[in-house]
């Protein structure tokens, strides 16, 4: 490699590095937040002024789901984002410039398989040969594979149809797919659209989704105090959700345009707790192996300890970090 080429590469690398540092505009942290009920603590903290109380200026940008939020972060458009474990696993195969700061929530039933009653799909085993719409590379995809395998069904026997989240309901309504593997709130939207024809397969406890706060590693140290402020604000918001769920639900309804039915649909499966546990690593490792086995990713299984930054949470909430390093 010539010196010129080497210099050019360094310059390009520097430009990329700068683009991956925290997106700070006039001291404002951009937080890419997926429009899901699991993001509720962020909405509550913003609504109740907890970020301001911590002297942290946060600008929230909405994204449809975690994978897109993580993309924004990796594109340098956000300093922080929310994401489920699976998009993180996929991203970990291509990048190591981000870190998980904390798990914000867990959900045992976020992903659901929604079908029409008329499709004669009554159990996961009935999906053999069926067209199932899913956002490939999301937790719903991993969920569908897991459901199939646990039911003794080869995932390859299912015809996957890669769909955007905003087109899922229409695809199901128009019979272009037989079923959907979708996370909330899209599963709810589809079920609501199908009304009496909707059928949600019993797949509970197949997969426990973790909803995480992810930050770009670069600039993390420089913004340590702000990150700690954000975590403190989120912990305070979780406390409010515990003690005043009515108020929290009101904020959720306003933020996601949900009605009471929508809130009642998702609320029982939500568990908010700020922490970092060994099971997160195990989950991601399992998902990484699944991705490698299934050919969705290439390379070696990442060491996820390198993708976890437990320092800020340890300082904000001692005892909530259960990862041995």
């Amino acid at each position: 490699m010539s010196v010129r080429a080497w210099t050019t590469r360094r310059i390009l690398g520097l430009i990329m590095l700068l683009s991956l540092t925290f997106e700070c505009v006039a001291g404002e942290l951009v937080f890419a937040v997926a429009r899901t009920a699991m993001s509720l603590p962020i909405y509550v903290a913003q609504s109740e002024g907890y970020f301001a109380a911590e002297n942290v200026s946060v600008r929230i940008t909405d994204c449809a789901f975690g994978k897109l939020c993580l993309s924004q972060l990796l594109d340098g458009k956000a300093a922080l984002c929310t994401a489920a474990d699976l998009p993180i696993v996929f991203a970990s195969f291509t990048s190591n410039r981000f870190a998980i700061l904390a798990t914000l929530a867990t959900n045992r039933s976020d992903a659901k398989i929604v079908t029409r009653k008329s499709s004669k799909v009554r159990a996961p085993a009935d999906l053999r040969g069926k067209k199932v719409g899913v956002a490939v590379g999301t937790s719903a995809h991993y969920f569908l594979d897991s459901v199939a395998l646990l039911s003794g069904l080869d995932p390859a026997s299912i015809q996957l149809v890669d769909l955007r989240t905003d087109e899922m309901t229409a695809q199901l309504l128009t019979n272009r797919v037989d079923a959907l593997s979708a996370f909330e709130p899209f599963a709810f939207q589809a079920a609501k659209a199908l009304a009496d024809d909707a059928l949600v397969l019993s797949t509970s406890r197949t997969y426990t989704l973790t909803w995480n706060i992810v930050a770009a590693k670069d600039g993390l140290t420089a913004n340590d105090r702000d990150v700690e402020g954000i975590l403190r604000a989120l912990d305070r918001a979780i406390h409010l959700i515990e003690i005043d769920p009515g108020r929290a639900q009101s904020i959720l309804k306003a933020r996601l345009d949900l009605n009471d039915e929508g809130v009642a649909w998702v609320w029982p499966d939500l568990a908010f707790e700020l922490g970092l546990t060994q099971s997160l690593i195990k989950t991601m490792e399992g998902e990484a192996r699944w991705a490698l086995r299934s050919g969705y990713a290439q390379g070696r299984e990442p060491n996820y300890l390198r993708y976890i930054q437990e320092g800020p949470l340890n300082r904000v909430k001692p005892g909530s970090v259960a990862i041995v390093r």
Binding site: S146, L149, L150, R205, E285, R289, W290, A322
Partner: protein
């Protein structure tokens, strides 16, 4: 605020505070126990889940039947321990969550066992096996973390409640101490300090300064007490001033009286003396008060004085005269002791008055001497009157010897008897040494005997009997009464028993109605001639009787149905005599 309300409030507050403190401590201690039990259970669950995680790894690695059996046994134990009842946990991770999470494991473990024991090695089976292993390990790991989190939360909650217990254990005594300090301060400020002021004021008042006042403005019981003290002090001051004024007035009186006045208590200690008494001992009043009777002037050495004091303390009034030397002269003192008898009859002491009776004694001696001289003189007068009357009577008798006419001689004889009856009065007077009154019964006896002796022969004879009750009659009433008796008895002798007739004459004198006397003369003789009226007769004797009876203010009654009888009722005295040695006449 009234102290009763304040202290009731404090007591209620203390009771409420105490009960609340006990309730808090009790509740906290119970919470410590409960959280301790929860902590123990969480620890047990966390240990069991960790054990399950290890067994899962063992089974995945070696597929041993023993590991499978132990896994299932451990799972059953775990579910059982989570099924055990008890109060709901306050932790965010609850037994219900763990119980719920654990339910996914058998399905995964059974799936894994099924895959392991199926002997199939195709791609799908391998994928399925790997997924099951991942899911099983991940879920078990998650449950293990949740169990440890539960234990951690229970430990933290217990630590919090223990800290609360320690805080309560430290702060409650501190609060109690503060409350007691406050109550003590309140007690000191509202009670002790005002009472101290009242105590000081009382001591000052007790020392004699009744002008002291508390002047409290507190509106409570102690304030009322202070105002009560002020009112009492006002009253005491006012009454003390009145008493002092009265005492000064009485002292002024007693000091200016010409007598020595003292009060001696039952221990013979002087409690009061007037100025005269002080002068006698030549001591100030304060030097005498409190000292004993015997400490002065050797009074106790005098047995008469000593016995008089003893008698006074025994409750007897007494008077003692003695002589003592006062300023170079001998004085006669009359000491009167009057016992001071309490309501229960005990003698508390006696009042003593010493009066100088030297002058009084001298004057009395002079009066007695003058009286004696007067008595001698009066006796002499009466003696001379009696002698003179007897001389007159003798002259009349001498003259009557020359009279030939028996009627004239009788008239002379009558006059003689009348003069003798008067002379007999004067004789009785000077013989009795009572110049105002005469024993009329004795006089009647003497007069009747004299008249009986003076009767000559030629007429009948009559025996005469006198029954007279002793009584004293003034001289100015005795003479007319005696003259009446003289006339009546003379008439009986003269007219009652003519021509040798014999009979009996009764003379009676008796008293009735206090100062009334009845003098009666009665004979059983010839009586009066027919048509004789004693009220209109021209007999000098009876005219004298009527005249003298009128002079006495008495009444006469005559009876002559059989013999002759006359009864005179008259008052024995007109006015009390002003000159008499004996106020009450005693029969001789």
């Amino acid at each position: 605020m009234p102290l009763s309300k304040l202290f009731t409030g404090l007591v209620v507050l203390a009771a409420v505070f105490g009960l609340t403190a006990l309730a808090v401590l009790g509740f906290t201690a119970r919470e410590v126990d409960r959280l301790g039990a929860e902590q123990l259970r969480a620890h047990q669950v966390a240990r069991d889940v960790s054990s399950m995680l290890a067994l899962t790894h063992e089974y995945i690695l070696h597929g041993e039947e023993r590991a499978e059996q132990q896994w299932r046994k451990r799972y059953a134990t775990l579910m059982q321990s989570l099924d055990v009842g008890g109060p709901a946990s306050d932790s965010r991770v609850t037994r219900a969550d763990l119980h719920d999470a654990l339910q996914v494991l058998p399905e995964l473990f059974n799936g894994l066992v099924g895959v392991s024991t199926s002997g199939q090695r195709d791609l799908l089976t391998r994928k399925r096996s790997e997924l099951l292993v991942d899911r099983l390990l991940t879920e078990t790991q998650a449950i293990s973390e949740a169990a440890f989190q539960w234990e951690s939360q229970a430990t933290e909650a217990r630590a919090v409640i223990e800290r609360r217990l320690i805080t309560a254990a430290i702060s409650l005594p501190a609060l109690l101490s503060l409350a007691f300090t406050g109550a003590a301060w309140l007690l000191a400020r509202r009670v002790l300090k005002p009472i101290g002021a009242i105590q000081n004021a009382t001591a000052i008042a007790a020392a004699g300064n009744l002008a002291v006042r508390c002047n409290s403005s507190a509106r409570d019981e102690v304030g009322d007490l202070a105002r009560g003290f002020d009112h009492m002090a006002n009253e005491l001051q006012s009454r003390t001033q009145s008493i002092q004024a009265a005492e000064a007035f009485l002292r002024n009186i007693t000091d200016n009286l010409p007598v020595r006045i003292a009060y001696v208590d039952s221990e013979l200690r002087y409690r009061f003396v007037n100025r005269r008494h002080c002068e006698r001992f030549s001591c100030a009043r304060e030097e005498i008060i409190g000292r004993t009777f015997s400490e002065f002037d050797g009074q106790a050495a005098d047995p008469k004085v000593e016995s008089q004091a003893a008698a006074a303390l025994a409750g007897e009034k007494s008077t003692l005269e003695f002589t003592e030397a006062i300023i170079g002269r001998s004085a006669c003192i009359e000491r009167s002791l009057v016992p001071d008898v309490a309501a229960d009859g005990t003698v508390k002491g006696f009042f003593s008055t010493d009066v100088d009776i030297t002058e009084r004694r001298r004057q009395r001696a002079e009066v007695e001497r003058a009286l004696e001289e007067k008595e001698v003189l009066l006796s002499e007068v009466h003696h001379r009157v009696k002698n003179n009357l007897q001389v007159i009577s003798s002259l009349l008798q001498l003259q009557s010897r020359t009279i030939e006419s028996p009627e004239t001689r009788e008239l002379f004889a009558d006059s003689q008897n009348r003069i003798r009856s008067m002379a007999l009065i004067h004789e009785k007077l000077y013989q009795s040494h009572d110049f105002a009154q005469v024993d009329f019964a004795d006089y009647v006896q003497s007069l009747v005997r004299m008249l009986e002796a003076s009767q000559g022969g030629g007429r009948g004879s009559a025996s005469i009997q006198v029954r007279a009750v002793p009584m004293a009659i003034d001289i100015d009433r005795a003479i007319p009464a005696g003259l009446i008796l003289n006339e009546l008895v003379s008439n009986c002798f003269k007219h009652g028993f003519p021509d040798g007739r014999t009979g009996h004459i009764d003379v009676t004198l008796h008293a009735h109605n206090g100062d009334q006397a009845t003098l009666a003369v009665k004979d059983d003789g010839a009586g009066v001639p027919t048509g004789f009226d004693p009220a209109s007769t021209d007999s000098l004797g009876l005219q004298l009787v009527h005249m003298l009876a009128d002079q006495l203010g008495g009444s006469l009654s005559f009876e002559h149905a059989r013999g002759f009888s006359c009864e005179l009722v008259f008052a024995t005295r007109k006015l009390p005599s002003k000159v008499s040695r004996q106020r009450d006449w005693q029969p001789s």
